[in-house]
């Protein structure tokens, strides 16, 4: 039984490390700030998620596992907020995204704000 749990947790940890490395590679290969955020989001969802799941299996049923679950939940609530703030800040700095296609003009044009996505 403990062998199965060990194997499973090792599998999860190795997979998580793989996705973290892939995210790192993506961070270097992508051309601009917006596409780099996409690469980083692989790290903090699949990478961190699988690593923490593996650690939960290593910790066994108890308070440590519960605290790891809190960390996982924290990750899933805050990393999108950070990614959003980063992208929004980049827009405000007027860093133009490299785009293959721009469909922003079709929006309803919110009152006050422009259609480029910057918040007032």
């Amino acid at each position: 039984m403990s062998l199965v749990v060990d194997l499973l947790s090792w599998l999860l940890i190795v997979l998580g490390s793989f996705f973290a490395i892939v995210g790192g590679i993506g961070l270097v290969r992508m051309p601009d700030v917006y596409t780099r955020i996409h690469a980083a989001s692989v790290i903090d969802t699949l990478g961190a998620g699988l690593l923490i799941l593996g650690m939960i299996l290593q910790a066994g049923f108890g308070l440590v596992a519960l605290k790891l679950t809190f960390i996982l939940a924290l990750f899933f609530f805050f990393t999108p907020v950070v990614a959003h703030a980063l992208a929004q800040a980049a827009l405000h700095e007027e860093i133009e995204p490299l785009l293959a296609e721009d469909r922003r003009g079709r929006g309803d044009g919110p009152a006050g704000g422009g259609t480029d996505g910057r918040q007032p």
Binding site: D32, S41, P80, A83, P97, R103
Partner: protein
């Protein structure tokens, strides 16, 4: 009612983090939880937005679905990153979010950002500006599958 539920959640959180269960520490925890809940009620952050406990029932089925979506698109982005020619076609688009409440729109925007390959860059009312790594990602968001799922989660 919401204040009572907030106090219960805070006390459970205290118990989970402390790990020491002597009568004195448990009493201190209970007092702290109740005080915090009262302060929160006084400041007025225990309404639907500050303590969205009513969404918990929908979340039980929503989170596994979201985890599935994250795994799928994470794998797609991994393949793009490791592809020798880096086949990206960044696309920006504007979509209308149909959830009506602030927690619903936040959940939708955060879910878009959490799935690798798409980020919510801006939120103006219910207009979300989305940056997608590939054209297909923008098409998926525009098709509105996730939008419908979040609206169902909100109504559950």
């Amino acid at each position: 009612m919401r204040t009572v539920s907030l106090a219960c959640f805070l006390f459970a959180f205290w118990l989970a983090l402390s790990g020491h269960y002597t009568p004195m520490l448990i009493t201190i925890g209970a007092v702290c939880a109740i005080l915090c809940a009262l302060v929160a009620a006084r400041v007025g952050v225990t309404e639907t937005e500050g303590h969205p406990v009513h969404l918990l029932r929908g979340a039980i089925t929503y989170w596994p679905w979201l985890a599935c979506e994250i795994a799928k698109s994470g794998w797609a982005v991994t393949k793009i990153i490791l592809h020798p020619r880096l086949p990206i076609s960044p696309t920006m688009t504007v979509v209308t979010a149909s959830p009506r409440t602030a927690p619903g729109i936040v959940t939708y925007a955060n879910s878009i950002t959490l799935t690798p390959g798409t980020i919510t860059v801006g939120v103006n009312g219910n207009q979300l500006t989305v940056h997608a790594l590939v054209r297909e990602g923008a098409d998926d968001i525009e098709a509105g599958g996730m939008d419908a799922r979040v609206t169902r989660f909100e109504d559950a």
